[in-house]
Subunit: 454 residues, 2 copies
């Protein structure tokens, strides 16, 4: 298929219809007037702002969740903003279909209305980056900047977002670490179109720094500090936020996700196809077959994770997986790979070279003609010399489950702090996972989870 | 048992009886007159010398092999010495019970007479080290130096030799790499007695250089060159030969053998016992039991070794064993230890952590955003990114015997040059050795072969 044809077909599927647009418009107007009414009723000095892809008209067809931000004056004390903001959110939500209170940096209301999710988020009514006090404050500025600069290229953003979704690189959440919607918008504004962005996958990485608002000239000291800090963190890209020179828009973008984008962009440019945007389902198979084919062992730690958000839990799980990797390698197992996540329970999966090691370990000792050498000689039952060194051996447990038990008991695994206790009291499964992890185990063992060529 | 008692009991067993002395004396006189007779008959200008422990009266009871050296004038061309020397040796041997021709640097005659082995070795009649032309020439000088300096401490030498035999550190042959008889004599001369030598096991190693004939003062340049060279070779001891400043008497002494001496000397000084001199038999057991207990795998290469002397064969086998160790570690096996030797055939034994590895190997690739990265991506079927790097995996053979076959086929094992072909066409046995290697396999697997605390 030709490129134009592909993009045309994709656009037909992702561009909202006139009907959807009308519905969205009506919804927003209705929500705005309810908000204004409640603000007045409560006697608050608050402005309602729509932010996010709806406000920027960059949402994908069928994907029109509402973000309504309730902006308090800058002088409002944080405590008051939290309290009044939640009160106002609840008052608005009472008029909608249903709601619950959710928690991020501060509490907000998540409501449902006419089949749509509506987030009612208190924030400060900032005029510029120097006013920013909480993490959500920038959204108003983002929305304004995109609307001022997008200049009708909304469908290009839609294409890029759908492409990123299709290749599983969309979203800056911790379990994706991909491209945020705002980053996609900036890239389209910077390079002009979806295709130009895709063609620049290699170029961008080499340029490294993207500065659409010219902060490096306007605020060189602050912008350079950002560049330095983010270079130190070894990010694939440094995109200086057009509305805040202190911030790298792509701070959460991982090398892995950029790698996916890199190759998929290359392939798409060479052989365009709708499948990049709407891929076929995940590959399916049995992890037990994989185990047999690979001749390896699968150890799964099932963890009753404490009630913490993914943003905190996942890095802790990753840290712990790395801790197990190091500890097991020291014990004579080879770790071919690991995978972490949360389904019902949190889990760490480790693929090992075998389930049983040899029962004997050679212990290299010191040089024989030293005080330490003479002690080593005295302490060990069997001792021999190779070169200048003493050697001995000891019996060890062979099964990996026993070895893990021993390692945990002796506190010899570096674990993520917040989940240490949960891991200590978790279950260790060998070559078996519960039903709800079967798919994950297959995707991990077969590496289809990460395979760029799936 | 007290030290004195122990030494007394040992001396009773190793000091030749008056009867044996008389027999040895008669034998030497008889041999000398036969030699003189034959020298005259053949019209040669040759002097017969007795060398070795018989000539120095440092032989152990029952161990009285004869070394009769036939010394030709220095002017004799080497070719003539070889020819006439062999002729003379044969002529003498004709009068003895039986003989065969043996080969070292040059051919010599090995005869039997009255139950004793008699070596008839042609050499040059050297007066000092500057005359030395062949490896055996120094023996006459050694014998003379020991006889001039031993001053009645012959039994002390006997004790030291028997001690070294008992702990398996006697002999400078390649498969022992221990203390030669001459080295034992020098040490007794230097330190005064068997016990003083034993007490100095640690001291000697620290002093490193022993120079009984004061060569470092008499011939500083040459002696220093020797010290430098041997330091470079990292020898445990440098004993400058009293009769030749160019030579380290203990050049063949390995760190391993010195280690054995080091600990056994320490133990003997603490708790003297006759057992050090006359140890009980080797520990016995089954290598198959060891295999089961240790949970490891034994790979044995059986090699039809070419007809070369141990001095050359053994280092080649060791080099090859190290080659297999490195190659197998690269392939994912762990080598816990190895052992080489020659029984009927030459052999290399390797103890491995397992007989089957996993069937899949993770292949780390280059950074993804490079030319090499893009090639890696194209070439491999399954590719994923971790950090900045690409990874892939490949299927591999799992059985160690197949892996060794493949490694040899692809020429990926660094083998000793002289035995490359023999190894290539040898047999690879897994967890099984032929009858004649069963004891060796047990001693190796159990580490009793080297265990200092056996």
């Amino acid at each position: 298929m030709e490129m134009e044809e592909v993009l045309g077909e994709v656009l037909q599927r992702i561009r909202p219809s006139e009907e959807e647009r009308a519905f969205v418009k009506g919804l927003m107007e209705e929500l705005r007037s309810i908000a204004r009414e409640k603000i007045e009723e409560l006697g608050l000095d608050v402005r309602p702002y729509f932010v996010g892809s709806l406000a920027k008209d960059t949402y994908l067809a069928g994907d029109h969740d509402v973000d309504l931000f309730l902006a308090f004056p800058l002088e409002t004390p944080l405590e008051e903003l939290r309290e009044k903001g939640l009160e106002l959110g609840k008052a608005i939500a009472e008029r909608l279909d249903s709601y619950e209170v959710a928690y991020a940096e501060h509490p907000y209301v998540r409501a449902r209305y006419r089949g749509v999710s509506v987030d009612l988020v208190p924030c400060y009514d900032v005029r510029g980056w120097r006013d920013v006090k909480t993490a959500v404050d920038r959204s108003i500025l983002h929305t304004r900047w995109v609307n001022e600069n997008l200049k009708g290229r909304n469908d290009e953003v839609r294409l890029l977002k759908r492409f990123l979704k299709g290749i599983n690189a969309y979203g800056s959440e911790i379990y994706v670490r991909g491209f945020s919607g705002y980053l996609a918008e900036i890239l389209v504004i910077k390079y002009g179109s979806f295709l130009r962005v895709v063609e620049r996958a290699d170029f961008m990485l080499r340029q490294k720094i993207i500065d659409p608002a010219n902060w490096l000239r306007r605020e060189p000291e602050i912008a350079l500090r950002t560049v330095k800090r983010e270079t130190g963190e070894d990010r694939p890209l440094i995109v200086i936020d057009p509305v805040d020179p202190r911030r790298n828009v792509s701070a959460n973008l991982s090398w892995e996700r950029y790698g996916v984008f890199y190759f998929k962009a290359m392939e798409f440019a060479e052989r365009p196809s709708v499948e990049f945007f709407f891929p076929k389902g995940k590959p399916q198979g049995s992890y037990l077959d994989e185990l047999r084919k690979r001749g390896t062992a699968l150890v799964t730690l099932l963890i009753d994770a404490p009630d913490i958000v993914d943003d905190i839990l996942l890095p802790q799980l990753e840290r712990s997986a790395r801790g197990f990797e190091r500890a097991l390698e020291r014990e004579g197992f080879r770790v071919l790979g690991w995978d972490v996540g949360r389904k019902d329970k949190a889990f760490i999966m480790l693929e090992l070279d075998r389930e049983k090691r040899e029962r004997v370990r050679i212990k290299p000792g010191p040089e024989f003609f030293t005080e330490r050498g003479r002690n080593f000689y005295r302490k060990n039952e069997k001792v021999w010399v190779v070169g200048k060194r003493l050697y001995s051996e000891k019996r060890v447990k062979e099964g990996v489950v026993e070895v893990i038990g021993e390692l945990l008991e002796k506190n010899q695994v570096a674990l993520g702090r917040g989940i240490r206790d949960a891991i200590m009291s978790g279950d260790v499964l060998l070559n078996y996972v519960p039903k709800e992890l079967e798919e994950e185990a297959y995707l991990f063992m077969s590496r289809e989870k990460w395979n760029l060529k799936a």
